[in-house]
Symmetry: C2
């Protein structure tokens, strides 16, 4: 075969470069939509051990929304408590425990902060993708050329633009040995024409370089020695996460699965022996020796070291997360920072989770293409906030014992919500309606992810978390908090809303997937017969009958006596109720009264494409 043959050309809706946590999350999300996806990675296999390991509550909620949280939870270490150690005032050569704090307030999420090695997390994602049978990761494959047809990208004709494949990417298989012959064309080269490309290809992102973007920021003087060991020690808190300041440096510990403990051993540049800053030469024993000095008077050794590494913190941020709304970047490709907050893998997957449904909805013609700009608008401020927090946290460690290190609870409280990922809030846009009436649901924050509480599935008398029935499938959710439907006047409002919602669903229905799902949570007795409600709340199917899994009661007393009701937890009036619109990523788009059809219609009209095939309903 000649190396000069014409490469094959194929078409794809979405090409993902990089199959780390961000790329895999994006592939999983995109696979929920009816479109053609490919994902390539230069490595021959996924990460086996070590690397990132922290998983925060929101990331686990996202896993739960794909039905893979239980795989993760059963294997992960749950970080419930953090112990703070400082030098002993009576003898500064020794450390003592000065504080024990809960890792995060319980109300933030039903899932605790957790830790599991990155390899296991990637495996859970890839297994799920594989089991769905639509996509497989193409390994040992790199892109060698990328070109965006500028004219098509700027087309004003929406229809034409959506149907076009303006990105030309040349892919090359580099084989198991991992070396590509870069200059000339290779026999394995193929040209892929893509509608959208996403670079999830790490800190040295090739895709980012192809669009001439450089990240801004700098390498710091802060160095970490990292290792995963099974410790042999008399340190009493070795199975809790610890933040240790000593006169010999700082250590952060994160217990893990399989008896492992992750140690981040950090020393300010002055304390650090300069020959340790050459990563390839660092051995576990060298990191251990530094840790031993910090742990004094406790002993610390290991029989098993599963992984170790050494790196210097670089805090860098890209100026934009997209290029002309056609090429997107996620994860380390656009932000890098220290591991001090355990955020890297989380924010990367959350980038991809923000982007996946938007691309899927645009490609399947449910959503308007211009909405894609919300990806940059929503995620870049998060990365910027993270880097600012990371700078503060890096100083906290490298500056040694301080007032903050002796009042850790106060220090930690400031960023618990951000770190958990549940406090992330997106500003008003085409996807977050500024017409919302926040006061109708005091504890549901417009722009934040919808918090899940237990309700009772009326038809099955089954207590269930609301998020368990709102899995990530690409659908928008309209939650009717119907109030007291045993009041005839309230029931009448609910029925009128039902008729409106039915017409709304028809306007935006898509042959490719369910665009909208309607749920109802009422505050009346759970024995209310749901078949008395408008059929939009329990849709009929000629083969499957009624849908019994959309109507819920807040009456949990038979199952969780003494607990406050979901209406109380959400801060919603039990008589009047309200409606809440959730985006496919569970963020709150809109809060309004049950009668305000105008604002609901206006909201959807600004984000979604009305299905022209179906005539306007009469109602």
């Amino acid at each position: 075969m000649s190396a000069n043959r014409t490469p094959t050309e194929s078409f794809v809706d979405l090409l993902i470069v990089g199959a780390g946590p961000a790329g895999l999350m994006l592939a999983l999300w995109a696979s929920k939509f009816d479109m053609k996806i490919r994902i390539v990675d230069d490595k021959s296999a996924r990460v086996r051990t070590g690397h990132a390991d922290g998983m925060h509550s929101r990331t686990i909620e996202i896993f739960q929304s794909f039905g893979i949280a239980r795989d993760f939870i059963s294997r992960a270490y749950h970080i419930n408590e953090i112990c703070k150690w400082n030098p002993k005032p009576s003898n500064e050569d020794e450390i003592e425990r000065t504080e024990t704090v809960l890792a995060q307030p319980q109300h933030l999420s039903r899932f605790p902060q957790s830790a599991l090695n990155q390899g296991a997390i990637e495996q859970i994602l890839e297994d799920k993708i594989t089991s769905e049978g639509k996509i497989r990761v193409e390994r040992n494959t790199i892109p060698v050329e990328l070109r965006l047809e500028e004219t098509e990208a700027c087309s004003d004709d929406q229809e034409a633009e959506q149907g076009s494949y303006p990105i030309h990417v040349t892919l090359r298989n580099i084989g198991e040995d991992g070396r590509a012959s870069t200059p000339a064309a290779a026999p394995s080269d193929e040209i892929v024409r893509a509608r959208y490309v996403v670079g999830c290809d790490g800190a040295h992102s090739w895709v980012r370089r192809m669009v001439n973007m450089t990240t801004e920021g700098q390498k710091t003087d802060t160095h970490f020695g990292v290792m995963d060991i099974i410790p042999l020690t008399d340190f009493p808190d070795i199975r809790k996460s610890c933040v240790i300041h000593s006169k010999n440096g700082s250590v952060m510990t994160v217990p893990r699965e399989d008896r492992l403990v992750r140690l981040y051993v950090q020393l300010g540049e002055t304390a650090w022996d300069s020959d340790l800053v050459r990563p390839v030469e660092v051995t576990p024993e060298m990191i251990l020796e530094h840790a031993q000095r910090i742990f004094h008077p406790y002993t610390l050794n290991f029989g098993i070291c599963d992984w170790h590494s050494m790196y210097t913190v670089a805090q860098r941020l890209a100026p934009r997360f997209d290029y002309k709304n056609r090429i997107f970047l996620a994860g380390d490709a656009v932000h890098t920072h220290s591991p001090a907050l355990g955020q890297g893998m989380n924010v990367s997957m959350q980038d991809a989770f923000n982007l996946g449904w938007k691309l899927g909805s645009v490609i399947t013609r449910v959503m308007k293409p211009e909405v894609l700009s919300t990806y940059n608008d929503e995620r870049r401020p998060i990365a910027l906030a993270l880097i600012n927090l990371d700078k503060e946290m890096t100083k906290f460690y490298s500056n040694g014992p301080s007032r903050q290190s002796r009042d850790y609870q106060t220090f930690r409280d400031r960023f618990a919500g951000f770190v958990s990922g549940t406090a992330v809030c997106y500003a008003p846009s085409a996807l977050v309606a500024d017409t919302s009436e926040q006061s109708l649901a005091a504890n549901i924050q417009l722009g934040q992810r919808f918090p899940s509480h237990k309700v009772v599935c009326s038809a099955e008398a089954n207590p269930i978390h609301l998020s368990d029935v709102m899995l990530s499938n690409g659908a928008w959710r309209i939650l009717t908090f119907a109030g007291d439907i045993e009041s005839p006047s309230q029931l009448e409002r609910v029925q009128q809303l039902g008729a409106y919602l039915e017409s709304l669903k028809k306007q935006y229905s898509s042959p490719e997937h369910t665009t909208m799902e309607v749920f109802l949570v009422h505050s009346g007795t759970r024995h209310f017969n749901i078949l008395d409600l408008h059929p939009v709340y329990h849709p009929w199917d000629d083969r499957l009958g009624w849908d019994y899994w959309k109507v819920f009661s807040d009456d949990l007393q038979d199952f969780e006596p003494g607990q406050s009701s979901p209406y109380e937890k959400y801060g919603i009036d039990k008589q009047q109720g309200c409606i809440i619109i959730l985006r496919p990523d569970q963020h709150v788009s809109y809060i309004g009264t049950m009668d305000n059809f105008v604002d609901v219609s206006r909201f959807f009209n600004s984000a979604l494409i009305r299905n022209a095939v179906i005539a306007e309903p009469d109602t």
Copy 2:
């Protein structure tokens, strides 16, 4: 190849005939022990749809003990509530709801009664067995000859008997078409010499016939039409389990996974159209027609019928569950009854769960062979009680509306504990010590399975169910409820007990597996440093360090505020504590004070084989 060749001969510790729920449970349990096991089944594949579907709390607890409950729970329907329907007094042609009752009291178990088709349950068991890689089900294989060498079976020499393989079984592969050429020898025949054989081969058990045993009892006049449908109906309780008495017969409904509902349509012999009693001719439409008359005035139809069957209840019981303590029978092979209590699959798997660890412990020389007689002594009374209850329940359905059908809660309360499986209690024997002091733990019943409550793993600050750390691995568990270890005198008692327990563990240690595990639950603050306790409570390993997962606190306040503590739930004194010995199947063997070493030693000496290799400890 000649059909007259000498069959190959091989040796096996345990041969299991039949790979239904009982056989698979036995294989899974036995695989935890270091021994050679084979399991054969005449069918070419496992059950796909229909058949049994009820899973009661104790069975789910057993699944949990093998780490497979979450696979089950996430797919199963949870039966929380039962609706009772009776004829409307004002119009007996119609039915009305007369009662709504909770399926079982919450304190019985953390797992609710559930329903999932038998095929899925068998798949979960077989997947687990396969993933462990020690055994695979040999399908299309039947035993054609079985012979027990009487002399060896009766040997008085324990060593010789344990080493012998007195059961000769000829196995034959019958191919995919399922027909064996019974009279002559076949080319595929092989002789297996087994130490023990268990027949889990159903109501028509071949193994049972080989030992000349017949079940006693009779076929009744009670007939069930059974079907799994996705209902199209306006009946408001279709997604709850219902017990319906009408003037046209009775129906029991069990909602299921994937929108299915199981209907048991039962009619007394007088009401039943006699041509329906020929099972092969019964169609789903015929069963539906009867159901429709019972559901009147509600409509009932289906678009999809997943499975249907028709059968006549036979209540039969075998005179013994073993033959000379060498050949055992479990499940339908020794007891059959109606599906009215949803017990069949449960009691069958529970038989196997009672037997598996006993065989494993005897074969690996941990336990004395005579203890095997407890299988018959413990399980036959359960089957007898079940059949008596089943007779009552069958009458309840076939007799039509009655006083009991109008006071269902009272009727149901009588057997909730038995049905859940958690009330099953084994009488004193070599495995249940009559020297126990029941009053030390008011809510832990000697002979019953140990109820699980949440405690806090001190080292990890992690709330966890006790049963989650006592998985089924063949080990006996000594639970030290250590009381208030912040009191110096109590701590001293705990340390002395620790020294005793260490010597005890050494006496019975086995090279094949862990014979005993020691756990400690104290009532002091969860911040107590567990390394201050005797090492038997946190054993050391030179490569893995301390074991941090054996000491627990009852201080749950940080995690579940307002809940009563485990000591209160168990009814154990918070100062004095007690010790509890659990069998490998989680049944309570012994309850005593922390100082009564004599009775503990006596108990183990009666059941276990002391390891002769290790010298008596000095202590």
